[in-house]
């Protein structure tokens, strides 16, 4: 972990968290959706994020990915302040994300959908991105749907496509927004195996998920978001046993 992609030593960055959110806030008019949020994500970890509907989880991802600009606070990625960086630059320096509500390129083939991310997200020529796109389609179980128009996919396949586009180009940080809903047990196992593999290759994952059993199996740490702030963080078993969390999140 002490070298970067070019093989140079990176003592400073190795110690710094991959992602650091400092006192992040966003308001929509009078609605405070994220409030003074502080969060550090360490290199290589799988951080599970849970929280009730409307807690601000997707908004948080939109802030990290650069779709939304915070009203206050700062975002650091690999030690670098990226608060004002645009969406595509963030993607190119290694932040990939899925959308909770899929946003396919409906009139392009599934293959091309992934090719866009492999070529543009990966910063490579089309010619050098085809193999990568194929690998990603295989890994996400979309290979046999490759030539279909993305607009014709089922919701489940659209979610796979979201994951495929997010991991194409191998970003360092993956933001996954509810990708396990509706999967069979076997499909869920496949997904977890894939995430494990991605993680083993050195990527960091932040995963927002309502499917707790999946999250529990994958996450090395859990954070609970409640009305715009992290109210608990820690080992999965501790968090899931926490009374406050059970009350808020599980309604128990």
């Amino acid at each position: 972990m002490a070298v970067d992609a070019q093989g140079r030593p990176r003592h400073e960055e190795a110690r710094a968290p991959v992602l650091e959110l400092r006192d992040l806030s966003i308001r929509f008019g009078g609605l405070r959706v994220i409030e003074n949020l502080h969060l550090e994500v360490q290199r290589g970890e799988i951080l599970g994020v849970l929280g009730p509907n409307g807690a601000g989880k997707s908004t948080l991802f939109n802030l990290i990915a650069g779709v939304l600009a915070p009203t206050a606070g700062a975002i650091f990625f690999g030690g670098r302040n990226i608060t004002t960086m645009n969406v595509w630059s963030r993607r190119r320096i290694g932040i990939g994300r899925t959308y909770q509500i899929p946003k396919p390129f409906a009139h392009m083939s599934v293959f091309e959908n992934v090719l866009v991310a492999a070529a543009h997200g990966g910063g490579r020529a089309i010619r050098l991105s085809r193999a990568e796109a194929m690998d990603v389609l295989e890994a996400t179980g979309l290979a046999d749907r490759m030539t279909s128009m993305a607009g014709q996919l089922s919701l489940l396949d659209l979610k796979r496509l979201e994951l495929a586009r997010a991991i194409a180009g191998r970003p360092d940080l993956l933001l996954l927004d509810e990708i396990a809903g509706g999967l069979t047990e076997a499909e869920c196992d496949d997904l977890l195996a894939l995430l494990k593999k991605i993680s083993d290759h050195g990527a960091t994952i932040v995963w927002v998920e309502h499917v707790l059993h999946a999250l529990k199996r994958a996450a090395s740490r859990l954070a609970v978001l409640y009305s715009g702030s992290i109210i608990a963080e820690g080992a999965p078993e501790d968090i899931l046993a926490d009374d406050r969390v059970r009350e808020i999140y599980l309604g128990a």
């Binding site: 779709v67 293959f111 866009v116 991310a117 070529a119």
Partner: protein, 331 residues
Amino acid sequence: MTGRNQFMTGLAITRFALVAIILALAAGPWLFDLNQQTLLTEFFTLLVLALMWNLLAGYADIITVGQHAFVGVGAYAFYGLAVLADVDIFLAIPMAALTTLLVAIPTMAIIFRLRTAYLAVGTWVAAEVMMLIAGKLPGFGGGSGTSLPIPVVKAFGATLSGRVSTFYAMSFALALLAFGTTWIFLRSRVGLGLTAMRDNEEAAGAAGVDLVMTRIVCFLWTAPFLGLAGVLVTLQKLRVAPSASFSITDWTIYIIFIVVIGGIGSLEGPVIGTILFFLLRGYLAAYGTWYLIILGAVSIGVILAEPRGIWGACRRWGIPDLAPASHGPKP
């Protein structure tokens, strides 16, 4: 499987027929009379304008209603170079295209600060300003414009029929160039990103597509083609005039109808739309202003039935693109 084979055969026949049509059009001066050539010259000119408006509005989400600005700039640049500066006409034509490109750069810097409806209004205002400036330029005949001098006209052919054929050949070549290069552009890396933007801008950004750079490339791509169309317009009318060279009706409004009816966001749509436009115009010419009203009604009807126009409906029926800008796993 036989159904699919038949389908592919049908597609191959269609493509073959298209190639045959293009070859026939290339032989136009020998096949068509002067009236037909003149009509087709106009057809090719509008087709170029439709291809460009489609690229901006259908792909890059730059809804311009000021497209006529660059047509006028091309026209005036050509007149200024060929007549006032006495540049050789065949050099003046590419230089007019270049001038349009140069004017497009500062224009872009201004209008790209705006989005959506404001951008549309901005392009319109920019076009009006350019038209007013054109009317004030010394040597261009002011508000009423001026004719091309006989020697310049004669440089395109000593006889009327020779000139008509020259203009036909030039407009055909421009349409072919506009279609061919735009197709290649859409198949490039930037074009792939642009196509993604067409379908979902936010997701394209999230996939790493540089939305700003892509828009800039797109806008600057269209400018020289619009300028060249302006040159052709000048040659067809044999004059420049602010109201004619910068005609919002002819170079923007009609073009919007054409693209919307034919199918925005495809290469096939503008072609279908332009053909339909000429058919409608031919049949409805006798009805005067009703023609515009009917054209408007048809395009509204098409939008309501299928927002992506006739080619959008074809795509929904499973007809593959005849000029696909798509990529497969194998190069």
